[in-house]
């Protein structure tokens, strides 16, 4: 191919190819197909290589964006991946699930005139290419310091902490309650957004660096933080926000009503979509209703759609403009045929004599005055009640931290939402030697912020461990 000269910003932004919407409704394969080498080079050619690096400054983990994009343009993909690795060990994950439109790509100087450089897709390309071609070597680790750190949970916050601390020469053990590592990357985000081979590869890379991984250990039950403190110098808690929020609507105990956590864990972690080849069953009827407006609701609706019901309807109590889900995911869901009912909330679930869900009583809302969060509050409209026939319903209206660790760790401060209170910049909690970050501190947030927390906590822990007494 003829390689475009650099920079050529006026080439149309390439958003990458996607699996056809009708076809992908029948499978759990990845929707975004990624760049070919030619597409990657052409997209990389658009980058102006700004000296001021607004994209890099907007990235929460400050990936060296202009430098790695230039290496992609020069077709030195291994070097591009290594460049990203200098600041982020999880480019294949971030390139897929990070909302670039609100970070790096929002800051791209080309954004308004030509459309931003597709930084996320280029990051993904570099990471995938390097992984598939064996171009990734684990970063070197500093000599052993003799200090031991326990990371509780194996989601993005803990993985980022573990990676950084291991690089600095500390002995790191990751404790995971489930049988797979990755936290929300394994049980929550569906394979059609994040293939499991990507997550497993990242975990395997950390193992090669010498991080020890223990599965099936639920800290707070299997072993407490206090007990871990006897064997470890530092405990980092990155146990996430895994407690589903109920709707508290009558009928929530009917068969066919799932929390998004249960539904997604069945489908993604247990691969129930392959039943009976796999052993975990799912119950999904002909008419599915999903309640919520975040990424979890989109993932639930799109997973449900792939299990072959007649219809999937998503209920959201505000309008599309207020949806917390990524625009790209909302568009994908709409393309896949999911029906959206905005300004609608369920008020009661009705069942049959066997206790199975039959229909959902809904009410229409109107947006009223802004609430404390600044969003206009949905107000139920009198007399607007109506019914939707449904045999399955997934509740995806939010999560809070699982309270087990907080309840079993005396002296660990929490806020009124049950989140551990920790210093934002360091992750320091109320207990000496105990740090925390990610969703267990923030409540349900994003993969990227969890990784950012992990990185900064690792720096703080390192300083703490190596500081010399005055």
């Amino acid at each position: 191919m003829e390689k475009p000269k650099k920079p050529t910003p006026s080439i149309k932004q390439n958003l990458g190819r996607h699996q056809d919407a009708v076809e992908r409704r029948g499978n759990f394969d990845e929707v975004a197909l990624g760049f070919s080498p030619e597409e990657a080079v052409t997209e990389a050619a658009r980058c102006l290589g700004c000296k001021t690096k607004p994209c890099e400054l907007a990235c929460p983990v400050n990936v060296k964006i202009p430098e790695f994009v230039d290496l992609v343009y020069k077709e030195n993909i291994g070097a591009a991946a290594s460049k990203i690795f200098e600041t982020s060990l999880f480019p294949a994950i971030c390139g897929r699930v990070c909302p670039q439109e609100t970070y790096c790509e929002a800051a791209c100087v080309l954004k308004d005139k030509f459309g931003p450089v597709s930084i996320g897709r280029l990051e993904r390309f570099a990471a995938d290419h390097a992984r598939r071609n064996g171009l990734i070597t684990p970063p070197p680790c500093a000599p052993d310091t003799g200090f031991k750190v326990a990371c509780v949970g194996s989601g993005p916050a803990s993985l980022a902490t573990a990676a950084e601390l291991r690089k600095l020469g500390h002995e790191v053990t990751v404790f995971e309650a489930l049988h797979e590592f990755g936290g929300v990357l394994s049980y929550g985000i569906p394979t059609f957004r994040l293939p499991r081979e990507v997550v497993r590869f990242e975990v395997a890379t950390l193992k090669k660096m010498g991080v020890r991984f223990l599965k099936n250990v639920m800290v707070g039950k299997s072993i407490t933080v206090e007990e871990l403190k006897k064997d470890f110098d530092i405990i980092y808690i990155g146990s996430g926000a895994g407690l589903p929020s109920p709707m508290n609507a009558p009928g929530e105990d009917l068969v066919g009503v799932y929390s998004s956590n249960e539904f997604l864990t069945r489908v993604n972690l247990m691969e129930a979509y392959k039943f009976p080849v796999t052993d975990t069953p799912y119950y999904i009827g002909k008419k599915v209703v999903v309640v919520g407006g975040g990424n979890t609701a989109m993932d639930s609706a799109r997973c449900a759609q792939r299990l072959g019901p007649d219809a999937v309807t998503l209920l959201y109590r505000r309008t599309r403009a207020e949806m917390p889900a990524r625009g790209e995911e909302v568009e994908n869901a709409m393309e896949e045929g999911i029906k959206f009912e905005f300004l609608t909330a369920p008020v009661e679930l009705e069942g049959d004599e066997k206790g199975r869900l039959k229909r959902v009583k809904c009410v229409r809302m109107a947006l009223g005055e802004p609430d404390a969060s600044g969003r206009r509050k949905p107000v139920p409209q009198k007399g607007s009640e109506f019914y939707i026939e449904a045999d399955s319903l997934v509740v995806a209206i939010g999560q809070s931290p699982n309270p087990v660790i907080q309840q079993t760790t005396p002296g660990l401060s929490t806020n009124k939402w049950g989140c551990i209170t920790a210093e934002e910049a360091t992750g320091k909690t109320s207990l000496a030697g105990v740090y925390a970050g990610g969703d267990v501190v923030r409540g349900g947030a994003t993969v990227l912020l969890a990784m950012k927390d992990g990185k900064s906590a690792a720096q703080a822990i390192h300083r703490k461990l190596t500081e010399k007494p005055l």
């Binding site: 599965k215 068969v255 052993d279």
Partner: protein, 292 residues
């Protein structure tokens, strides 16, 4: 011998497997971290292999010295049939725990334990803990038939009195565990607490039998579980009109406050899938297992 609880070497290996009846097996599994922490009322989540489902099983025994935990499994579906086909020396792919909240052990006076079927195995560690705490133990062991009656000797060893009932009269008295309970009450036996483990319908009627006497009664609830760590709510039960997660807060709850009818409906959710899965397994393995 001191076991490294953080080591993964030899984890989940079956140190000893014995068949207690045609469908019930005892597995002694190497899992030192769990063994170090286990208490009466705890359970574990087992997974046989990759692609397998997660199923909750009560801990029957544990030995911190040997680093082992003991479970007793009745083959009633695909996963349990597959697990009971394991031989000594083979390994489970996953054993997570100990999970749940242990039973509060104290001196009530006289404790009645009512176990049904494989529930007898789950009653055993609780009865033993109450015995050690100085209680007088009366046990009612119920089963469909003699073949399904397990741990009779072990239960007799720690009980001050044992009553056995079978549906067909092949062992002990013909009848239900609640018949035996009524006899105890009729004979003027003073019961200070009842702990029951077995089929939901049995636990429901045990609760109804003790209710008029006002005996504090606790049942080990067995809803469908997925993760067993409190992250999904699949195991939620209604106790005292409130939703509770059996995996974290339970599985033992006040039986007089438990909505057993709701529990019965919710545990039936996957019946069709369970049948499909077991039939497929039976077909693939050409084995003669009873399909009920």
């Amino acid at each position: 011998m001191k076991h490294d609880i953080y080591s993964t070497e030899g984890l989940y290996k079956i140190i000893r497997k014995e068949e207690l009846s045609s469908t019930v097996s005892r597995h002694v599994i190497y899992a030192p971290l769990i063994a170090a922490k286990a208490k009466a009322g705890h359970f574990v989540i087992l997974r046989a292999r990759e692609g397998g489902e997660r199923i909750p099983v009560t801990l029957v025994d544990w030995s911190p010295e040997n680093g082992t935990v003991t479970v007793i499994i009745q083959a009633i579906g695909k996963s349990t049939t597959e697990m009971n086909a394991f031989k000594t020396g083979e390994s489970f792919s996953d054993v997570a725990g100990p999970l749940g909240t242990p039973v509060e052990i104290k001196n009530y006076g006289t404790v009645l334990g009512v176990g049904g079927g494989v529930g007898i195995a789950e009653l055993y560690p609780i009865a033993r803990a109450f015995k050690e705490a100085g209680n007088r133990i009366i046990s009612i062991l119920g089963a469909r038939n003699k073949d399904l009656l397990i741990l009779e000797k072990e239960m007799a060893g720690l009980s001050d009195k044992v009553l056995v009932t079978t549906d067909d009269g092949s062992s002990g008295k013909k009848g239900l565990v609640t018949d035996a309970m009524k006899e105890l009450y009729a004979a003027g036996e003073k019961l200070d607490a009842v702990f029951t483990i077995g089929p939901i319908i049995m636990m429901k009627f045990v609760a109804e039998t003790s209710r008029p006497h006002g005996t504090p009664t606790f049942a080990s609830l067995n809803p469908v579980m997925l993760d067993g760590t409190g992250m999904c709510g699949g195991c939620r039960v209604e106790v005292g009109g409130k939703p509770r997660f059996a995996c974290v807060e339970g599985p033992m709850f006040d039986a007089h406050l438990t909505n057993f009818d709701l529990l019965l409906k919710r545990t039936a959710a996957y019946r069709e899938n369970e049948k499909e899965s077991l039939e497929r397994y039976a077909r693939d393995h050409q084995c003669r297992i009873g399909l009920h």
